[in-house]
């Protein structure tokens, strides 16, 4: 079996569902003949026709809005926003309608929609192409927010997202679209949308990260292992609803925790993770939970983006700090 990248796994999942379910359709800007600017829909229009794989006019509010009407009539639209930085005109429909239709009609109509968008920094793109605003979506009741971090999880989670009866914002970490190759059987088997994935087991500290940040987080775990520190690495993957219990289970072993995300810190998802650990597992902690995040600044143009993105060194230091707590000279 050929090994595929994360972006090819996205294509494979879309093709699987287009094949399996005639109510599934895929639309967005340049996604037809061109196969999307990242080639996530490469070949799909050829295979499934222009009536199910459609190029739209250039209007993100429209891309967000028509999905609501399509889904309310029983279709399963998968809408692509070209970049997360351009999803904002579509927010009105995602937040005000897709997330609310089921509740508003007391279950009469619903919105099984997947809104896909490539997100995150690190690809030397122009302004507006590198943001990570997953927490904005995670704040909204009625939505699910899913971020894959490997080809296999991209495939299994996207299948689950398309089959889910409610709207899912599916954010694809474009920095690792082609970072690794993996064998991903086209089995049609979905992964659960309410479970964390333990990527590495360990007993000394729990590292929580998602999307592209997992690359540095796993590297940090390797580095720590060289010093005899065993980190457990957890990928929540589904950021909303969050499987806090898997995190607590891990803390039962490690008693220490570092959350990593490239989004800005203030009101970032790390804050929610810390708050929930406070609620449910305060007594388990040997040290305050650390956050390693992007700065509370505008995402810089790419010359400075590596200064902005959390690096391996910062993660390792944060772990050291939780292990050293309470530091003698600070007390």
């Amino acid at each position: 079996m050929a090994e595929i990248t994360l972006v090819e796994a996205v294509t494979q999942a879309l093709a699987h569902e287009l094949q399996a379910d005639p109510t599934v359709l895929v639309y967005g800007q340049d996604i037809g003949v061109n196969g999307g600017v990242f080639r996530a829909t490469d070949g799909l229009q050829q295979r499934f026709g222009a009536k199910r794989v459609l190029d739209t006019p250039l209007a993100e509010n429209m891309i967000g809005g028509i999905a609501v009407g399509m889904a309310a009539m029983g279709l399963r639209p998968v809408a692509e926003f070209q970049f997360m930085g351009f999803i904002y005109p579509g927010l009105d429909h995602i937040l005000s309608h897709a997330a609310r239709f089921r509740n508003r009609t007391r279950g009469r109509l619903s919105c099984p929609i997947v809104y896909r968008a490539p997100y995150g920094g690190g690809i030397h793109a122009p302004e507006h192409h590198s943001e990570s605003t997953e927490a904005m979506f995670a704040h909204i009741p009625g939505l699910r927010v899913v971020v894959p971090s490997s080809p296999a999880r991209a495939y299994g989670l996207l299948l689950a997202a398309i089959r889910d009866p409610d709207p899912v914002v599916f954010l694809e970490p474009k920095r690792i679209y082609r970072a690794v190759r993996q064998e991903v059987p086209d089995s049609g088997e979905a992964l659960p949308l309410d479970r964390c994935f333990i990527l590495r087991e360990g007993t000394d500290v729990t590292l929580i990260a998602w999307g592209a940040s997992l690359k540095e987080t796993l590297q940090a775990a390797d580095k720590l292992a060289e010093e005899g520190i065993e980190a457990e690495v957890i990928d929540p993957a589904t950021l909303k609803p969050l499987d806090i219990h898997a995190i607590i289970d891990s803390l039962e072993k490690t008693h220490r925790c570092v959350v990593v995300h490239e989004a800005a810190r203030f009101c970032g998802l790390g804050a929610e993770v810390v708050a929930q650990i406070n609620d449910y597992a305060f007594d388990l902690l040997e040290a305050p939970v650390q956050r390693v995040t992007g700065y509370d600044t505008v995402m810089p143009y790419y010359r400075l983006e590596n200064s902005y993105l959390p690096g391996v060194g910062q993660i390792v230091s944060a772990v050291q700090e939780t292990l050293d707590y309470p530091a003698g000279d600070r007390r």
Binding site: P22, L25, K51, R52, L54, T56, P57, A59, N61, M62, G64, G65, I66, A67, V68, G69, M70, A71, A72, M73, G74, L75, P77, P89, D92, H93, S96, H97, F101, R102, N103, R104, T105, R106, G107, R108, L109, S110, P141, G142, P165, D166, D194, P241, L242, D243, I244, H245
Partner: protein, 362 residues
């Protein structure tokens, strides 16, 4: 100065449709559907809409209903539009829709429930495919385009019968991107959708002239590449005829259309508003001379199709219908407080169980 020569590339006309003039005189032969029975039925529905609105405003004044948007003076649009659809077509309303909702089979009790703060009203028992009332201005226009796409898709992929989406928005809504984006897409994709604009001359306190410098709203369709027509929105026959024609075209695969129906908002924007602050009294007085219920009533009387006795009988009948609905509304059991969780997702995520139990325990 030399003036460069150019050639004409495109030109367009905007037509206005009217069957009954301001004095209720026919301006032309009435359309085929305008049989005595149908006209009397249209009159009845407009009278019912007016009665429901009137009572709803009173209920709000006495604290039995939340904020309510009346459609006083705009009944011909709702009733004309609603009556032009087939049962299986899909209506995508905005919020000022009493007449259309009644035509679609939505219960008076459901309408009252919605404005009485109860989502269950949006679970239309007799209009299961219609979209719920929509508050964010103009957004329903894009939903209608999506609905129309789905109807076309199902016809092509699954051989379902042809169905049409119809939607309505106010004049203020035409300033929003959603309006342009929906028309643009509908024309490019040739979707079976009809956009109706209730041009009641006001968006809360902002008059039509401050909304757009366009001579008509109908002409905005031209830029999108679809037909645009203006109708006298105080003439229910014209509204019904124009919408029925556009619906038939759409059903026949001939694409979308825009219909601007002009009228006047003879009421406050909602019960939370005071139109006396901005509507000129003279203008309102003049607008009352054109209102749609009297227009059709006067025509029917002039044609010998309506009498004082019939009017009395109708008012008696409608009062009974209303009383029954009010009784149902008053006796409606309150929703469970946990209902706010029950339809948030198809299945309540584990992560919300604790909050659910907390609320249930209150």
């Amino acid at each position: 100065m030399h003036k460069p020569r150019m050639h004409l590339l495109a030109s367009f006309d905007i037509a206005r449709l009217q069957y009954l003039d301001e004095q209720a005189r026919p301006t032309q032969e009435l359309p085929d559907f305008a049989t005595p029975d149908t006209l009397q039925a249209l009159y009845r529905q407009m009278a019912l809409a007016r009665l429901v609105d009137d009572r709803a405003v009173k209920l709000q004044r006495t604290g039995q209903l939340g904020t309510y948007p009346s459609s006083l003076g705009q009944e011909a649009i709702g009733v004309g539009v609603g009556g032009a659809l087939e049962k299986d077509d899909v209506y995508c309303p905005y919020y000022r829709e009493t007449g259309a909702l009644l035509e679609r089979g939505v219960e008076i009790e459901e309408i009252l429930a919605i404005w009485g703060g109860d989502e269950r009203g949006q679970d239309f028992q007799h209009a299961p495919h219609d979209l719920p009332l929509c508050i964010p201005i103009a957004t329903q226009l894009l939903h209608a385009a999506g609905v129309a796409f789905a109807l076309k898709y199902k016809r092509e992929q699954f051989d379902e019968p042809p169905r049409v989406a119809v939607t309505c928005a106010g004049d203020g809504a035409t300033s929003r991107g959603d309006f342009f984006e929906a028309m643009n897409l509908a024309a490019v994709w040739r979707l079976p959708v009809v956009f109706v604009v209730n041009n009641n001359q006001w968006a809360i306190s902002v008059p039509r002239a401050a909304q757009t410098a366009s001579k008509t709203i109908a002409q905005k369709a031209i830029a999108a590449g679809m037909p645009g027509l203006q109708v006298d929105g105080n003439d229910v026959i014209a509204v019904r005829a124009a919408v029925a024609d556009a619906v038939a075209r759409a059903r026949n695969g001939e694409g979308p259309a825009l219909i601007e129906a002009t009228c006047y908002r003879l009421c406050d924007h909602t019960t939370a508003d005071d139109a006396g602050r901005y509507q000129p009294k003279e203008e309102v007085r003049a607008a009352w001379q054109c209102e749609p219920l009297a227009r059709l009533g006067n025509y029917l009387r002039g044609a010998g199709l309506w009498s004082d006795e019939q009017e009395e009988e109708l008012q008696r009948e409608l009062a009974e219908v209303l009383e029954l609905a009010l009784q149902g509304f008053a006796e409606r059991p309150a929703d469970m407080n946990t209902a706010m969780f029950d339809h948030l997702y198809a299945r309540l995520p584990e992560a919300l169980l604790e909050q659910y139990d907390q609320l249930a325990g209150q």
